[in-house]
Symmetry: C2
Subunit: 120 residues, 2 copies
């Protein structure tokens, strides 16, 4: 389910976080579905439970999952996740746009950039 890359320079807990983010986004882990327990996953990956715990703690802070002591950790609802990501991306979007406008790029240039994108 989760796969660690030895050559990846990032810390393990970051790789674990990204792995789960992808799994949740792709729907492999459904909303409210139970995640592997910290000990179970740690054993499978041959790493320390604390490392998993850190990944889970940060995923919870980012509202990707929620944890209940004694019960387990569970994937948040996709709507929640989607809304959170849109909120964060929108903030980056407007901040970047403001900086570009400040520096002298015109609104028209930015709009043309958007219109030129080949997305739906």
């Amino acid at each position: 389910m989760i796969q660690l890359n030895q050559r990846d320079p990032r810390p393990i807990y970051e790789q674990v976080k990204e792995n789960f983010k992808n799994l949740i986004f792709q729907g492999v882990i459904r909303p409210d579905e139970k995640m592997p327990s910290v000990r179970e996953l740690a054993q499978k990956l041959s790493i320390n439970p604390n490392t998993i715990q850190r990944a889970y703690r940060e995923l919870e802070q980012e509202e990707m999952i929620y944890s209940i002591p004694g019960k387990g950790s569970f994937a948040a609802s996709v709507n929640m996740i989607r809304d959170n990501e849109i909120r964060d991306l929108m903030q980056t979007f407007t901040q970047t746009a403001d900086r570009l406008l400040d520096i002298g790029v015109s609104k028209e240039d930015l709009i043309r950039k958007i219109e030129g994108r080949s997305r739906v």
Copy 2:
């Protein structure tokens, strides 16, 4: 000229970098003007010349300054700096836009965001 903040958790070379970026952007250091030498500045700030050297090296990689062995380090031209910043911001802008489009936000929504900005 440069001021270090003891409570700032960032490494010293990062603080030095930011200080100079601001000075150059604000025009306090003019294009092609000589920057303090690594040894001189290190002595003034009571830190190691190597730390300044690292700041200068990275500023040069970011094309904020240019260095000539034997002569000194000099601020890059504002046009160069401006172009570089626009290039970087544009990349962030389109990447963020693409991600938002992927996730289901419409082009119209993004364009409206731009138009709603209170910049010139």
